[in-house]
């Protein structure tokens, strides 16, 4: 059950590359690795809390109104996460900006609640939320790394926004006088990057 959650979340049913849910943040926030991972962690947090809190009350939710109630719960949880990040991690809030409230509209959260947590006990639901979130987070990290490396020639730029000024705001630079590759930074670069990742996954799956 635990192992199955890991395999499904990270590879077989990966929300970013297989289920293709939650494309809005996937494409918009992955211009650097730091942005991608930050949003990934926030989504992972919301998904595990949402799954864990829906599972124990699943028997009290009438079938006819389950979707509005799921949305209500998810929206409330996201607002709680949003308020907490704003209050206790202000620099991170500046970076993620509008994308935290938008986790509500990220279909992947509702999809996991509806298809998994509403039918399973607490612990498996928690694992499902956690590893589905982790799978998405990894996709965001890889996509962010690809786009940042190609687009700006750096990795981990903006780490100072999260961990304070002990870190260099430019991150690791790989080239002197890099002109930048604008396509990678703009949204089309995100589509292309995601397409390459999906193609790679399909190629690996086909070989096995």
């Amino acid at each position: 059950m635990f192992k199955e959650s890991i395999i499904n979340g990270l590879w077989k049913q990966n929300p970013g590359t297989v289920q293709l849910l939650g494309l809005c943040p996937t494409l918009a926030m992955t211009n650097t690795i730091v942005n991608g991972v930050s949003l990934g962690i926030a989504t992972m947090l919301v998904m595990s809390i949402a799954n864990t809190s829906i599972a124990p009350i699943r028997k009290f939710i009438p079938d006819e109104v389950r979707v509005p109630i799921f949305i209500l719960v998810i929206a409330a949880l996201v607002t709680v996460v949003d308020l907490s990040i704003h209050a206790y991690a202000e620099p991170l809030y500046q970076t993620l900006g509008i994308f935290i409230p938008l986790i509500v509209t990220n279909c992947i959260v509702l999809a996991r609640v509806e298809s998994f947590a509403s039918k399973n006990p607490i612990l498996p639901s928690f694992y499902d939320g956690l590893f589905m979130g982790l799978g998405l987070c990894l996709v965001l990290a890889i996509l962010g790394a690809m786009r940042e490396f190609l687009g700006q020639g750096t990795l981990f730029s903006g780490l100072n926004l999260i961990f304070g000024d002990t870190f260099n705001s430019n991150g690791l630079s790989f080239f002197d006088q890099y002109e930048g590759f604008l396509l990678a930074i703009l949204p089309p670069g995100a589509f292309l990057g995601l397409a390459f990742m999906i193609a790679f996954m399909n190629w690996v799956n086909q070989k096995n």
């Binding site: 211009n31 009290f60 939710i61 009438p62 006819e64 109104v65 509005p68 109630i69 209500l72 719960v73 409330a76 607002t79 709680v80 308020l83 907490s84 704003h86 209050a87 206790y88 202000e90 500046q94 687009g151 700006q152 926004l161 705001s169 930048g180 604008l182 930074i185 703009l186």
Partner: protein, 210 residues
């Protein structure tokens, strides 16, 4: 009749469930809101203060800068669509400098909001971009977090820089810019120029007469 009663039961059940869930989560939300609100207000205040402090050197005023401002309604020079603020820096009740919140409406993607700090002689003490949506990696070097470009305006004034010099080098002006993005610095230069004009025309109202 029996059918109606059966439906009635289902409706009552679903309505009740919705009400109970709404009430529970409203309580959870209000709890978190009340708990985080003071922290959020404080950190927003500090973020603003940090920017204001970057614009002016701290040894030229001793008043509560963040809370001493006048409100300026939409103005043709400052291009603000809503009320903007003009902060007054005072040393022993004498105004030593002002910080003008101004807007460049013609950035590459939308408005650029700036703070411009000007001393009594009309010289720029510092400028900062507080909000912009310029292209990442291209036009966003106006942000101090990405580049120090914005500091080239230090100690520039209308007296030491004639009108024709207020342009990027490409347009035969005196200001540097980065290849690939000229629309952004053009907008910023124009906004800073206009805020100096604003300052000069309203000097007396601000209690500064040199």
């Amino acid at each position: 009749m029996i059918k109606f009663l059966k439906n009635y039961k289902i409706i009552a059940k679903t309505v009740l469930a919705m009400i109970i869930f709404s009430v529970i989560f409203s309580f959870i939300l209000s709890f978190f809101y009340l708990k985080t609100e003071p922290v959020i207000l404080k950190s927003e205040m500090e973020a603003k203060k940090r920017l204001l402090l970057q614009v002016l050197p701290s040894n030229i005023y001793n008043n509560d800068l963040v809370n001493s401002y006048i409100v300026i309604p939409p103005n043709a020079l400052l291009k603000n669509k809503i009320d903007s603020k003009l902060y007054l820096a005072k040393q022993n009740d004498k105004t030593t400098a002002v910080i003008i919140e101004t807007t460049a409406p013609d950035g590459y993607s939308g408005e650029i909001k700036l703070l411009v700090g000007i001393n009594r002689n009309g010289e720029i003490l510092g400028t900062r971009v507080i909000k912009h949506q310029e292209t990442p990696g291209l036009g966003d070097y106006i942000d101090i977090k990405k580049d120090s470009w914005i500091t080239i305006f230090k100690s520039i004034s209308l007296d030491n820089t004639p009108k024709r010099d207020w342009a990027v080098k490409k347009d035969y002006g005196k200001f540097d810019y980065m290849a690939g993005a000229t629309i952004t610095p053009r907008a910023v230069i124009k906004a800073i120029y206009n805020s100096l004009i604003f300052f000069n025309t309203h000097k007396i109202e601000l209690g500064i007469n040199v």
